[in-house]
């Protein structure tokens, strides 16, 4: 009944001009009219992916369409609102949307943090549709990814900036208009600068992870943080993300931490403790993007200094120093490893090029997603099997620890090699295990920690037994 009615309906739509009018009469978006006459829609369509720029209403519609098509594996939510009140929409894809399944790692893509860097925004919309389509087609890789990962996609962190950029008349978009949020804040310089803290800690001792203390209070009370920044910080703190990428434009490279130079100079390779895995992660993206990984590619602009680029990747600080960026904030305030991907020499290229950007990037986007299933993962529990949250998992030789999430689950990305992993928690005795890590998949290592009190109990019992033995022997 449904199918018949639906098909008849659609057939009529095609046949009659009238339907168009009536469809048009349907109640519509409040914001749309300001965009003027609707441009050619469905410029190039492929399986529901329309390769055209999506303004805020279209962005929302596109995500809703994906959700409607894949209700079983998707969910839309919002992490907050931009300064001008636009929702910061996220679409989540997983086999159990809305739920963190213990042991299932969480991934995020964030695009369009600079409003005029538009390719990332569009790619993420395309990606959401693509994942839904491929899942329904039974694409093994995608099905496995969606069943074993919780994928969060935020096409635009700066929708206000995008509107500004997109509203410029003419073909050429300015290099700066729309970059910052509606308050004029550059979001990628707006995050708390934890690099400086970690650099001090490196020299003088101190924690090497989770450097942002008294989080909620400080973040909410800080007037210098943009609402978009605040929203992302809360998001990072609420969900135990493991791997992430931050999509930009203006060049063509995969950039990894640290972004800020240690000495404060303009360029200086500043490696983080996880430099090895970050290089591998960045390469996992760039290798599948032909122009990005092309060693003979000329720089985007004649006088650009791309001497730090290797295989389409670069250390952030070696390229140029960026303080207060989101990438390093992820690494130093949470367990999440994030890289920054510059997708296009032109920040806001012509719409006709979007399809080719998709072709260049879709394999990279999937490949990078798969990187989350590497290294070591497992659970930290006590002897009764209860999960221990906030346990510390440290790796010998890498001065950066991760922590276990609410269900005691942890994920530690590592390049292949032999490692000693130590799990510890306040009140518990630490345990160290040796692990041999392949390229992939992730090796499962669980820890059962004994608490001090249990230890004390055991020792007390031993003591009592010894005392009993002694007294029997000596006839006390």
């Amino acid at each position: 009944m449904a199918a018949r009615g639906g098909r008849a309906l659609l057939a009529l739509c095609g046949a009659l001009a009238a339907c168009g009018w009536l469809l048009g009469a349907q109640a519509q978006e409040p914001g749309a009219p300001a965009a003027g006459m609707r441009r050619r829609r469905r410029l190039q369509q492929e399986d529901g992916i329309s390769f055209e720029y999506h303004r805020y209403p279209e962005l929302r519609e596109a995500l809703v369409s994906v959700w409607l098509q894949c209700t079983a594996i998707s969910r839309i939510y919002t992490v907050g609102r931009s300064f001008e009140g636009r929702e910061l929409l996220v679409i989540e894809l997983s086999d159990n949307p809305g739920v963190h399944e213990p042991g299932e790692p969480e991934f995020k893509y964030i695009g369009n943090m600079h409003g005029n860097e538009a390719v990332g925004r569009e790619l993420l919309i395309f990606l959401a549709q693509y994942l839904c389509n491929e899942y329904q087609k039974g694409n093994d890789t995608i099905v496995k990814l969606i069943h074993n990962t919780r994928i969060h996609i935020m096409p635009s962190l700066n929708p206000d900036g995008f509107e500004k950029a997109a509203s410029q008349p003419g073909e050429l978009k300015d290099w700066f208009v729309g970059r910052s949020n509606a308050q004029g804040i550059d979001l990628n310089r707006n995050f708390p600068d934890l690099d400086r803290i970690v650099y001090v800690n490196e020299k003088e001792g101190g924690p090497n992870n989770h450097l942002l203390k008294n989080l909620k209070k400080i973040v909410d009370q800080n007037t210098k943080l943009a609402p978009e920044t605040k929203a992302v910080i809360h998001w990072i703190m609420d969900i135990p993300f493991v791997l992430s990428a931050n999509l930009h434009g203006g060049d063509l490279v995969a950039n990894y931490p640290y972004d800020e130079t240690r000495s404060g100079s303009a360029h200086e390779y500043s490696s983080c403790p996880d430099d090895a895995i970050f290089q591998s992660l960045a390469r996992a993206y760039s290798a599948f993007n032909p122009p990005m990984s092309d060693p003979n590619r000329p720089p985007c602009r004649k006088n650009d200094d791309d001497s730090s680029f290797i295989d389409g990747t670069t250390n952030g600080a070696a390229w140029y120093s960026v303080p207060g960026g989101m990438q390093d904030f992820n690494y130093l305030s949470s367990n999440c490893f994030e890289i920054t991907v510059e997708l296009s020499c032109e920040k806001f290229p012509p719409e006709e090029t979007l399809k080719s950007y998709w072709e260049d990037n879709k394999n990279s986007l999937i490949s990078y997603l798969e990187q989350i299933h590497r290294g070591v993962k497992g659970f930290v529990r006590d002897l009764q099997g209860n999960p221990i949250a906030n346990a510390t998992i440290s790796v010998e030789g890498i001065d950066h620890d991760v922590t276990s999430a609410k269900d005691g689950d942890y994920w530690r990305l590592l390049v292949p090699g032999n490692y000693k992993l130590t799990a510890s928690a306040p009140g518990y005795l630490a345990i160290t295990k040796k692990v041999a890590v392949p390229y992939s998949p992730a090796v499962g290592v669980d820890f059962e920690l004994e608490s001090f009190s249990e230890r004390k109990e055991v020792e007390k019992e031993e003591l009592m037994e010894w005392w009993k033995m002694m007294s029997e022997t000596l006839n006390f």
Binding site: G5, A8, L10, L16, A17, A18, C19, G20, L22, L23, G24, A25, Q26, A27, E29, P30, P33, A34, A35, G36, M37, R38, R39, R40, G48, R55, P57, E61, V64, S65, W67, Q69, C70, T71, R75, T78, R81, G85, R86, E87, L89, H100, S167, P192, D193, E204, H210, K213, L215, K216, N222, P350, A389, N390, T392, T403, A430, E462, L463, W466
Partner: protein, 493 residues
């Protein structure tokens, strides 16, 4: 005691280990406190000052991705009220916007005005003000919001408009109002392409000429322009719209109103959901769709007096083909409108008004073509193009040009070339949603082998969708109308 303890080798080792660990931790504690002092004295530009304790941050205990939906919504609401909507704007009103709007909406829904709602679930202070004004005015004015949406609050929803297609006093809209509404729709939807499709169809059928089509377009453009320029004024005045109004039109009004009222009565009899089909007085006759129209048609088309008259006037032998075509068109359109109403995409009133408009247009243009006469029966909606005075034609073009310029200033121009509105595909959002839902149902059917009865799965699906749609509306992810449309589509499956 001490010596005896040490004597137990195992115990001693363990003791030593734990003691060592405690010592290490103690040392670390001291070290970090020293660090704190050091750091507080040095001008670190970092933010915030490091506390330096071994405590894991609070956030790890707040991993709440799987908080129940209610909690999330509640928190979102609380945050919203706290942060973005300062209480200086009368808590009563913000309550109004959240709760009362919802209730009002539900109440109105039962009166089948749902599609026309532009509820502001999460309205801003501005919206609240406008809301009051809107209720006072007798017409539905939402263009201000549309027009200014570049400035702020793209999210602000349209105002509470319980009137839909009726005036406050319940009288049906006049044809003028219908024109206004249609132009409003075009403007709001910004989809000129739909209009162009209709025109091109009419052209293909030879019912109008190219120049007539252009003038037609100008007329509509002019109406739109007037709408934009007059949005600040109230709406009650002048019957003299840009569309020429002649005496003969006033004569037609009663004629139109009668069938319209009759149809509307039929339409408004029942609830506006899948039971709409019961309320359409036309549906009984139209349920059975046959290829042979000659016998049936007149009875169904009685509500379209112009068309009826036209048909009669066509010489059946000479223009048989044309007659057939016309009849086919009307029948198909009626069927389609019925289905759209059934699916809830449009309200019955809209369907009726659309059909009436079309009736007029077709009748008129065909008459012109066949008789090649200047007709006195100018349609209120689409004045006979060639008969218009030239001044009016010129002014229309002027208006159209003005309107283009205004649009030019506003329009999104990420493309270098001007928008080719004429060939826009009319595929709207609703169709995209329909397509997505269709794919979803298909996939679910393929993969959900458990339930033999499709109904069972679908009812679960329906509930899930309803719940999700509502949740999304509350969060601002979906418009109320979109949610209702989606819910309706699912409930009609």
């Amino acid at each position: 005691m001490r010596e005896e303890r040490k004597a137990t080798a195992q115990g001693a080792r363990r003791q030593a280990v734990s003691e060592a660990k405690r010592r290490r931790m103690g040392f670390l504690w001291t070290g970090t406190w020293i660090l704190v002092l050091v750091l507080q004295s040095s001008p670190v530009q970092a933010f915030p000052k490091p506390g330096g304790s071994q405590d894991k941050p609070l956030h790890n205990s707040e991993l709440s991705a799987e908080r129940p939906l209610n909690e999330q919504i509640a928190e979102a609401e609380a945050d919203k009220i706290k942060k973005t909507y300062p209480p200086e704007n009368k808590p009563g009103e913000s309550n109004y916007s959240f709760v009362d709007n919802l209730n009002l909406l539900k109440a109105i829904t039962e009166k089948e005005k749902v599609e026309k709602e532009r509820q502001s679930i999460r309205s801003s202070p501005d919206d609240n003000k406008l809301n009051v004004e809107d209720v006072d005015s007798t017409k539905n004015r939402r263009l201000i919001d549309d027009y200014d949406s570049t400035k702020s609050g793209l999210n602000h929803k349209f105002q509470d408009d319980p009137d839909g297609l009726h005036q406050l006093d319940g009288t049906p809209l006049t044809a003028e109002d219908i024109v206004q509404k249609i132009a409003t729709r075009i403007y709001e939807e910004n989809d000129r392409g739909v209009f162009d499709k209709i025109v091109s169809k009419l052209l293909n059928l030879g019912l109008i000429t190219e120049s007539q089509a252009h003038t037609l377009e100008d007329e509509v453009a002019e109406v739109l322009q007037k709408l934009i320029s007059k949005e600040a004024n109230t709406y009650e005045e002048e019957p003299n719209k840009p569309i020429s109004v002649t005496e003969s039109q006033t004569g037609k009004i009663p004629e139109k109103v009668t069938p319209m009222a009759a149809i509307q009565d039929g339409f408004t009899n029942g609830q506006n959901d899948e039971t709409v089909s019961n309320t359409l007085t036309l549906t009984n006759g139209l349920e059975r769709r046959t290829k042979i129209y000659n016998e049936d048609n007149f009875e169904e088309l009685q509500y379209f007096p112009n068309f009826y008259a036209l048909l009669k006037s066509i010489d059946s032998e000479k223009e048989a083909k044309e007659k057939e075509t016309l009849i086919t068109i009307m029948k198909t359109l009626i069927d389609f409108v019925k289905m759209m109403v059934k699916y809830g995409t449009i309200s019955p009133e809209e369907g009726v008004s659309y059909l009436e408009n079309l009736d007029e247009t077709i009748a008129l243009q065909t008459k012109n073509k066949l008789e090649k006469n200047v007709t006195d029966n100018k349609s209120k909606l689409f004045p006979a193009p060639s008969e218009k005075s030239h001044e009016e034609t010129d002014s229309t073009k002027e208006e159209a040009a003005k309107m283009e310029k205004e649009y030019g200033a506003l329009k999104d121009s990420t493309k270098a070339d001007n928008p080719r509105g004429k060939t826009d595909e009319p595929k709207g959002k609703t169709e995209a949603y329909l397509e997505a839902i269709r794919k979803n149902i298909e996939w679910l059917k393929k993969h959900d082998k458990k339930g033999n009865k499709e109904d069972y799965d679908l009812s679960k699906m329906r509930d899930f969708i309803n719940q999700q749609a509502d949740a999304y509306v509350e969060k601002g992810i979906l418009d109320k109308e979109e949610a209702d449309a989606i819910k309706r589509i699912y409930s009609s499956l």
